[in-house]
Amino acid sequence: MLSAKTLLILVPALPLAAAAVAAALGPRVLRGRSHLPVVAALAASFIAAVLLVYQLQERIDLEEKPVATATLWSWFDAPRSMPPPAEGSVETPGRGDFNVSVSLRADPLTAVMFAMVACVSLLVAIYSIGYMRGDAGYWRFFAYTGLFVFAMTALVAADNFILLYVFWELVGLCSYLLIGFWHERPAAATAAKKAFLVNRIGDTGFALGIFLIWTTFGTLDFEGVFSQAREHAGDWRLTAICLLLFCGACGKSAQFPLHVWLPDAMEGPTPVSALIHAATMVTAGVYLVARCTPLFAEAPDAQIVVAAVGGLTALLGAVVAITQTDLKRILAYSTISHLGYMFVAAGALYGVAAGVFHLITHAFFKALLFLGAGSIMHAAGGVIDIRRLGGLRRRMPVTFWAYLIGCLSIAGVAPFSGFWSKEAILFELHGRSFAEGGVYLLLFLSTLLGVVLIAFYAFRPFFTVFFGEEKIPPEAGDHMHESPPSMTAPLVVLAFGSLAIGGYFEWTHGLADFLSHTPSFDCLKRLDRPEIAAADKWRIGLFGSALSIAGIAVVAALYLRPGKAVERLTRAMNVFGLYSLSYGKFFIDPLYDALLVRPLLGIARLAAWLDRRVIDSAVDAVGRAPALIGAAVRPVQNGLVQLYALVMVLGVLVLLGIMLL
């Protein structure tokens, strides 16, 4: 049996090795078989992750600390860079030794993330074998995917903020590479750039947060920082740290106002959208907030901000998703909205575990939906506009059933996975609102509204695409049939996960118990959690489910029977401009364009002009100076040995003169 430490290293190391192999051998040797190393490594990685979960569970059973660490090497090891404080003065924090090691650490939170990431990425990789077949960049795709899985697993295993930041950027890089995978398409290249730049804004906040952590706590290790968090309760710096970290989370997890990159990121291949922009990378922000629970626990103001931003984003994403016509865009906005849910849960503090629970189930059903959409897209020759598709139920039965399960799960219909995790969030939020009211009550109500909207936006494309009269776009040719087994098999597995995994975790309490042993969540046990009757749980669950079913019923009524109802409703909504607002995505992109992008471009052009005309000419002038000096002294070197000897003697005389005078 491999030790926990070995497993911890293997989980990220295997995909990295596979990526290296794919990159080295892909273009020449492996070509169309480039998926082999990556799929094999991901499978092994998944097995290692599951073994790791079991090992940690074993430790919990033995009442040991369920933490495994592996320090690979010491990265920075600089002694304190300041002289010790003067006698009698108080030591200012933040002047400790700057020690950062490349060390990984697995606790239950990490292990759960490991298992989820490895599982989804394995399925997506298998799916991609069929989806990407014949693409010119086949090996490149799998190399990037391996690299991404390495970065993502290392991100959740990092033991300090610096390392976390490094892998945070690395997943960002992989995201950039994969969004721009078809970089010859201008839209893809632009989307990749946009994603990178918007993420940069968030990352700046994250970096500032790390700086502030350093000056406040004098260390960057998770354990060192979290153990000191209590001493700083109520400190403005702690609140600032939390907000800055959340700023980073907003960028990566596409929360308002930094959500604009995610819909555009759908320019990448669909498996990428499923893996990176739905299931894994975008949840890094949620992971960050969950990991930093001890900090947020001591900063109530930051909790409110997180919850409020999450709630606002959840609603905004859902409203926009209702009216979009591009299937992948609908799913992208739904991802934004669901990430908002996770942040609401994390902001409600006790709901962190519920947020992580939702993260896991969401990974399954959202990956399922995306891959389903990809399957449709694959068959339809790249067409993904739902207005041009219809009645595909019979032509693609597997996709149909899988997609149905995904929709039921995302809508939160009992007993599908999404139901349990969403119900957990609602429950925690209800508890908090019950205890405090105010913002949390508002959030609770808005999430309830969101539940209806989710059902609506999930089933609208479902009914349009799979029911009604058969519409097949001309691009599809005669390929409009079910996808190959390598694509449908992952769909089936994911559908099974979307169906059962939530219920399994809920009934066995496996996930919640396991997660509660995470050292980061220890602080929650200290707080007195508002007591709510268990009956409330059922009431909330039933109410939520009822709302979902109501939403589905409305959609069914509107879209299953062809009629003018939809048009009429649209017109009615547009009386207040609501429809345009939703269809135009609240006009946030044009707003940014007018307020930020254009002014900045103007400044950039001015700066470029100044740089070229003014600064460059000045620099050029300076650059010519040494050469001119050289030209001036050049005649001395005339090749005459007499002169050389004379100058040498003169030199000696000058030296003697200086010495003697």
Partner: protein, 530 residues
């Protein structure tokens, strides 16, 4: 063999081998064999040096002796392609003698032996310059070097005689403890010695020979000229100015500093105009001598955590590796009847000879001081030392100015080093170089590039080896009563680097002032112990 001579065995082996090769070469003109015999002699000397006192480091003489053997090996490899005319025995014999001379100069305890060892470098070099090429330019360069070299030797010897007159002793250890009877003599001596050695190191205004001589000779000879005499000059400067006569002239640092600034500026601005590769590298070697002089100036004042001598030798080592590598790459690219001289010959090398171009580029980047290559660490140590001298405020100010000028100079220097890189990678190939300069040259180029990269990524061992402050170097007691004799310093004590007293008290690790170099050095030091 008597016990006193044991430490000298490596040098003895080299000299005996050189003499044997000279004599044997007259009878057996087999060209290839002599190279192998010379290589064998170098290896034997290495083994002897290792056996004599293995694993020790931190002693200047020891460091330079290793340096000399390594440089000798590389130079032998660089010039290994047999010459067409029959000069091989003389060539390798002279090379061995210069190596022996450098080793002797590092260890000689007596100024007479010191002078002889310097001549042991100079005279074979005159021979080498005649051997390399057979045309008018070569004759001219050899003659120039001979005349000016003799002049500089005379100046140096004159300085030595004043030193003897002022202190009454020819032994360095006695000189260092003597109180000079005539302060004027001592100053005269220092000025003349410094001037004489400046010729060896190619410092302004004693540098004039370098461009003409380099241009007129072969790559192998240019490589030798840019490394061996420079190292000898600096080791003797270090031993006399820093170790033997630190109290004689409190302001000698100012002169060295002025020479440093003049030298680096002159070398760099002149190099900008060169189109000939060897001439360009000649000016480069002048400019680099300027940085080394700056390190020497740092060594002449109390410099706290930063070790001027250590910086000097680290710098010199990285410079030597990069320079030999550059010349070796050039040598490898050419053929005996088709030598590459102009920078234009390198156009498009990145496409025609990618591996050689890479080695050359690495060397150029290192010379320009671009991280993470070895040259960067050298510049870091030198400039950092200049910024951290613990001297009176006025001196500190001057050193700060010098550091700024040095950094500006480094920027200027990058222009011509990168011009070579740009020619190799961004220009269209004019003709494919024959690349028939021999496997030895190829090996030397690759080895040098590897050293530059290796010492760049992992500079610790080299820095530790050149940390001369760790050890006191008391004299060997053998023969101490016998008066002046050939003696080698031997290291006895080992001490960890200590904190200056101002910060003492409390935990050593946490209470030291931490300049960057200190941190670096300390980290590397402790890591080495683990």
């Amino acid at each position: 063999m008597t016990a006193e001579l044991r430490p000298l065995l490596p040098e003895i082996v080299l000299i005996v081998a050189a003499v044997a090769i000279y004599i044997g070469g007259a009878f057996l003109p087999a060209r290839g064999t002599w190279r192998w015999i010379a290589a064998g002699a170098l290896i034997a000397a290495t083994v002897l040096l290792w056996n004599h006192n293995p694993n020790a480091s931190g002693d200047l003489a020891r460091y330079v002796r290793w340096f000399a053997l390594a440089a000798g090996g590389l130079l032998l490899s660089l010039g290994a392609k047999p010459l067409r005319f029959d000069g091989t025995p003389e060539y390798v014999g002279s090379l061995l003698l210069t190596v022996a001379g450098l080793m002797l100069a590092a260890g000689a305890e007596d100024i007479i032996l010191l002078f002889i060892s310097l001549e042991l470098i100079s005279i074979p070099t005159y021979v080498l310059l005649y051997l390399g090429r057979n045309d008018a330019a070569a004759q001219e360069s050899a003659a120039k070097y001979f005349f000016l070299g003799v002049l500089s030797s005379a100046i140096l010897l004159y300085g030595f005689s004043f030193l003897y007159g002022a202190t009454g002793s020819s032994e360095l250890s006695a000189i260092s403890t003597a109180s000079p009877s005539f302060a004027v003599f001592a100053r005269l001596a220092l000025a003349l010695i410094f001037a004489g050695l400046c010729f060896k190191t190619a410092a302004v205004p004693f540098h004039f020979y370098a461009p003409d001589v380099y241009q007129g000779t072969t790559h192998a000879n240019a490589a030798l000229l840019s490394v061996v005499p420079k190292a000898a000059g600096f080791v003797v400067m270090a031993r006399i100015l820093v170790q033997a006569a630190p109290g004689m002239e409190p302001y000698s640092w100012a002169i060295v500093l002025a020479a440093a600034l003049l030298t680096m500026t002159f070398g760099n601005v002149m190099a900008l105009w060169q189109d000939d590769f060897r001439r360009l590298l000649a000016y480069s070697s002048i400019a680099q001598a300027g940085y080394m002089l700056l390190a020497l100036a740092v060594a002449l004042v109390p410099s706290g955590e930063w070790d001027g001598l250590g910086a000097l030798w680290f710098y010199l080592t990285t410079y030597a590796a990069a320079t030999i590598g550059a010349f070796a790459a050039m040598e490898r690219l050419g053929r005996e009847d088709h030598r590459l001289d102009a920078i234009d010959d390198l156009a498009g090398l990145g496409r025609t000879r990618p591996a050689t171009a890479a080695a050359m580029a690495v060397c150029m980047f290192s010379l320009a001081g671009i991280p993470p290559l070895a040259g960067f660490w050298g510049k870091l140590l030198v400039f950092g030392g200049a910024l951290n001298v613990e001297a009176p405020a006025s001196a500190r100010w001057w050193f700060a100015v010098a550091a700024v000028v040095a950094v500006l100079n480094a920027a200027v220097a990058a222009a011509y080093y990168l011009r070579i890189v740009a020619a190799m990678y961004f220009r269209i190939p004019l003709a494919t170089p024959p690349a028939d300069g021999g496997r030895g040259a190829w090996f030397a180029a690759v080895a040098c590039a590897a050293v530059v990269v290796g010492a760049g990524f992992y500079p610790g061992p080299l820095m530790r080896a050149g940390d001369f402050r760790q050890r006191q170097t008391p004299r060997l007691d053998v023969g101490a009563e016998r008066g002046p004799s050939i003696l080698f310093r031997q290291e006895k004590t080992t001490a960890t680097p200590t904190c200056p007293t101002a910060w003492s008290g409390g935990d050593e690790k946490s209470s030291c002032p931490n300049t960057l170099a200190y941190c670096l050095r300390r980290r590397l030091y402790y890591r080495g112990r683990q």
